[in-house]
């Protein structure tokens, strides 16, 4: 019936063997994959190397590809610098990103599902309005956001940044999920409703498993952008301990000199949790639908 369900009923292994490909082609794919891998990792490998170089080596006019000495202690020292309380910064980032994403999911999922499934007057207007909010340059909005949350008494709180991040990311989340919901044939819903399922049940039991890759894409998109948000955090969060890593990073940039090894070290620390998160959900992200998920 649907493409998704048809595929879902095919065991993975069968597809692989059926796709009888020559060894040469596999090797070509592996080679291309290796080149892609290197290109995508190169900047971050140089970042990692830079983070374990000494302060002098990192600014050497005779640059080195590999660190002459591996100063892994940079990764220890950066947690206790006078510039910024990094442990608290990491905690702030995690809290803001996790709850920001949850909030987006809670609000965007119903809207995306409903607009993709049901016709109602103002549907297109709603979708367009939602995306209009994304067309404003955040750098210009920060001043208004500061005054707004000042009036609400939420300046310098995580809650403020959770709300701001959720609002900033809601529209893309709605649109991405909308696109995937819209790809599921209406008959799936109708069949479920004939079986007596309510709308919520239809959404959660029937639709969600089908559009899971799209949902995860939206979650990741939101999470990453909350994780790295800078412009609003800079003005809304004032206490050093409340600030996220993106703001903490700037504290190493001085007028006369910059602690580049810490800038890059903190960057690595900021990237790692997200990469690990990706590793955990990679299968979900694109692994497709496992057999029998639709019953």
């Amino acid at each position: 019936m649907t493409s998704a369900t048809v595929r879902a009923t095919q065991p993975r292994s069968r597809r692989y063997t059926k796709d009888s490909i020559s060894l040469g082609r596999v090797i070509a794919r592996m080679a291309t994959g290796l080149i892609v891998l290197l290109i995508f990792l190169l900047p971050y490998i140089t970042m990692l190397f830079a983070s374990v170089k000494s302060k002098a080596e990192i600014r050497s006019v005779d640059p080195t590809y590999f660190p002459q000495e591996w100063h892994w202690e940079n990764f220890v020292a950066m947690w206790t610098t006078p510039e910024t309380p990094l442990v608290q910064n990491l905690l702030s980032t995690v809290i803001i990103a996790v709850f920001g994403t949850l909030l987006v999911l809670l609000v965007a999922l119903p809207a995306a599902y409903y607009t993709a499934r049901f016709r109602f007057p103002g549907r297109m207007v709603f979708l367009f309005l939602v995306i209009v909010s994304q067309m404003l340059q955040p750098a210009v909005l920060t001043s208004g956001i500061f005054r707004e949350f000042l009036a609400l008494g939420l300046i310098d709180t995580w809650l403020a940044m959770i709300i701001v991040n959720a609002a900033f990311n809601l529209s893309f989340a709605v649109w991405i999920m909308h696109a995937f919901f819209a790809g599921v044939p209406k008959e799936v819903d109708e069949a479920a409703q004939l079986d007596g399922a309510g709308r919520l049940a239809t959404l959660f039991r029937i639709n969600l498993p089908l559009v899971w890759p799209g949902i995860v894409t939206a979650i990741v998109f939101t999470f990453v952008s909350c994780w790295n948000e800078f412009a609003a955090s800079l003005v809304v969060l004032q206490t050093a301990g409340n600030q996220p890593l993106s703001v903490a990073l700037t504290k190493f940039v001085g007028q006369h000199e910059t602690s580049w090894h810490f800038v890059f070290g903190v960057s690595i620390v900021a990237i790692l949790p997200v990469v690990i998160l990706f590793m955990l959900i990679e299968k979900r992200l694109i692994g497709g639908l496992t057999a029998g998920s639709v019953k």
Partner: protein
Amino acid sequence: MNSLPNTSAGVDKRHSRRGSSARSTEAHNRRWADLVAALPWITPALIMIFGVVLFPAGLMFYNSTRVISRSGLDKGTAGFGNFAQIFAFPDFGPIVVRTFVWVILVVVLTVLISLALAQLLYKEFPGRRLVRLAVIVPWAASVVMTTLVVYFGLEPYFGIFNKLFIDLGIIHDPAGFGWTKQPETAFLWAIAVAVFVSLPFTTYTILAGLQTVSVDTLEAAKMDGARPARIYVNITLPQLRGAISIAILINIINVFNSLPILRTMTNSIPGYDADTIMTMIFKYIQVQGRVDYASALSVIAFIIVLIVVALYVRVVKPMKEV
């Protein structure tokens, strides 16, 4: 919220049926009922977005018509004086043109490369999982960090990319080449970085779309002896339409609004030969301290992107009909 039924009338006009007055009242009532049924699902999103964005956006529009001192105080009305200043700025025209070049080049390159990448990552081969993870990394890293490390590598004297070019014999000056010190090369590198950081999201959206392409249709086509290129264009691409059109839409808005890449890459260059609207807004705020000019230019930017997106939505129709 109350205005929704009215504003929607135009959109849904072609679906409304004109019949006897009784029938039209009935239809009218049904439309109302449809809207009321939709409210619980969409209202939270509306409150969330506009609760946060409306005031700052309103302030931006208001500020664009005010005179604001360097320290940030409102000094009274400017009428359209700020807009006049922006249009009188001799570099305004080139900056707008460059903004379009920036968006078009970055989005087109991103989509083309992503299509190829997604195709590779869709195919099975040993080590695929690692490659897929590597492709995600630029997404996990913030744009600022990625740009900074590339900028750092391209610096004369200190940059290891420059060292690599010297060691490969491409560059002969032992101090390296000033890639980020000249508007043309800095702009091109900024485009490269922008494409690089846009690839993961775009690739993964397309990849997620590929999962929903019917394998049966593909194999039927294969059995019929269709060439792979034909299968791709005639069967795969049309089914990717939804994913691609959303990815393009999001990329257009994001790339248009993108500030950190160009700011970092072209920051030290004198003049306005590598600026886009966004970096110019930034320069008005940060360097010149003119929040009023920046707001006016932001309003102009908003109108431009609104028109572009409206045209895109109209032509491409990324939201599917129910």
